[in-house]
């Protein structure tokens, strides 16, 4: 698996898209920091961008990579390598190279700005960790979609739908159901609701850490009330881990049963 990972990673590190993605974060970081001059505001803006953009790029890139390396995967499948190592290796290769672009792209401007001397270093690290988690989660989901759909167009369609649902529609439905059932106690419902969506979960996690109650929203407030800040952070991180683990196991399961 490590070998496959290494080679997909090398391959992707040289792809134009990795650089575009990297350059985008670099630019975003520089603009936000040096034009805004306020570290915690920059972190909040970045959070909003990362939470929407990282899942989008993760899904699209994951699906794209799977389909474009399909024939090569067939060559690998004929080699004496375990099936699951091929797919897990490729998946990690994609996810890690995307995370690298994110971490280095944002890291450089923040280092230039002097993040190490600032108290916001932990907020910033958490932002990067959450971004990495989101990349891992959505790339894994994308690989699942691609493994289950032979048809590229369908695969891309489902990938976009997944992102749209998680990033936009989910919140809408969530909010509407909160309004519709406002007479009922909604604590448990909203807790489960925000855990069931990694994007919401990441938002709550970051806002808990930043301790900006005004931005927490209803779910965030419940999270804080229910778990307290520190325990809330632990619970939401654990949930993110589960969100990585389940799709990864599904990749392994499906790849062992699939015909190529």
């Amino acid at each position: 698996m490590i070998k496959i990972l290494k080679y997909s990673f090398y391959d992707l590190m040289r792809s134009r898209w990795s650089y575009v993605y990297f350059a985008f974060y670099l630019l975003l970081g520089i603009v936000l920091l040096f034009l805004n001059n306020d570290l915690s505001k920059a972190v909040i803006t970045l959070m909003n961008v990362i939470i929407i953009l990282v899942p989008l790029i993760g899904t699209i890139f994951g699906v794209m990579y799977y389909y474009s390396s399909k024939e090569f995967t067939e060559l690998l499948l004929a080699q004496p390598i375990k099936r699951s190592s091929i797919f897990l290796g490729q998946y990690l290769g994609v996810a890690l190279s995307l995370s690298m672009s994110l971490i280095i792209g944002l890291g450089l401007p923040f280092i230039m700005y002097g993040i190490f001397k600032s108290s916001a270093i932990w907020d910033f690290s958490l932002l990067l960790i959450t971004g990495t988690f989101l990349t891992l989660i959505f790339t894994a989901l994308a690989f699942n979609i691609a493994l289950y759909n032979e048809n590229k167009i369908k695969g891309f369609g489902y990938a976009i739908l997944l992102w749209l649902f998680m990033a936009v529609i989910y919140d809408g439905i969530f909010l509407m159901s909160l309004i519709a059932f406002e007479e009922y106690p909604l604590d448990t419902f909203s807790l489960i609701g925000s855990m069931a969506n990694p994007i919401d979960l990441s938002r709550v996690l970051i806002l808990l850490k930043l301790d900006i109650s005004a931005l927490l929203g209803y779910t965030g407030a419940i999270f804080q009330k229910f778990f307290g800040t520190n325990f809330g952070i632990i619970v939401s991180s654990a949930m993110l881990c589960i969100w990585v683990l389940i799709p990864t196991l599904l990749i392994q399961r499906k790849s062992n049963k699939k015909d190529f």
């Binding site: 090398y10 792809s15 090569f72 060559l75 499948l77 004929a78 080699q79 004496p80 390598i81």
Partner: protein, 236 residues
């Protein structure tokens, strides 16, 4: 060497293999022929473990291949479509496959020489032409000295000189006592290199034997017409 017993495979409602029984002995060139959609590639992929059969069993050297992957150490495979990671160079790809198989074999230098690939070694795979990619594909398939060699449409995209080289290469591999499975639609190529034919029709083995036997069975003077006459019967 290879023992296939009552192999069934369907994709959805499409029954591709409907009870294949096949035994292939060590040594020699075997051509798997058949019209489009007769299950040639599915059969090959089942042997390689890429397609998981619905029922039936496949044994290689007396061992069942189900849920195993180590047996592929003894197989070299040339896929039908040559498509590689576009950002790797030819040299890196060759080293990568060698690394993946943990093999010390150094047959690739001769092959690179044979197909005149030196000028492309440091080029990215994404910039190569279809024929050159196929040559790289051939190098990857032939560079390990495995006892079983499976070639899926080896001639596609090759220029005449490379085609001659390929034929020489195949016959020299045969002399080493290897077992070679080939699928191809180019009948003259098949006739020239093979001793045994396995003809698939609608997911079953229609004929297995030598070219001569096929000619006498179909009462046709040459190989191409013999194959055509089988196909004619199936189209009627």
């Amino acid at each position: 060497m290879i023992k296939v017993k009552d192999l069934h495979k369907k994709f959805g409602k499409n029954k591709v293999l409907q009870g294949i029984d096949l035994e292939i002995e060590q040594g020699g060139i075997f051509a798997i022929l058949g019209p489009n959609g007769s299950g040639k590639t599915t059969l090959i992929k089942s042997i390689l473990g890429m397609v998981i059969p619905n029922s039936g069993s496949i044994e290689i050297n007396g061992k069942k291949i189900k849920n195993d992957w180590k047996y592929r150490n003894g197989i070299d495979y040339l896929p039908q479509i040559a498509n590689f990671p576009s950002n790797l160079t030819v040299d890196e790809l060759i080293n990568m496959i060698k690394d993946l198989r943990a093999s010390k074999s150094t047959g690739e230098l001769q092959l690179i020489e044979l197909f005149k690939l030196q000028p492309f070694l440091n080029k990215k795979l994404g910039n190569l032409s279809g024929g050159t990619k196929q040559k790289v594909n051939l190098v990857l398939a032939f560079m390990f000295d495995s006892p079983l060699l499976i070639l899926d449409e080896p001639t596609s995209g090759l220029d005449p000189i490379s085609l001659i080289r390929l034929k020489e290469l195949i016959s020299s591999e045969k002399k080493k006592g290897k077992t070679i499975l080939i699928t191809s639609h180019i009948m003259s190529f098949v006739e020239e290199i093979t001793n045994e034919i396995v003809f698939l029709l609608e997911g079953k083995i229609y004929f297995k034997g030598s070219v001569l036997e096929l000619k006498s069975k179909t009462q046709q003077p040459d190989f191409e017409h013999a194959i055509a006459s089988i196909l004619q019967q199936s189209y009627d």
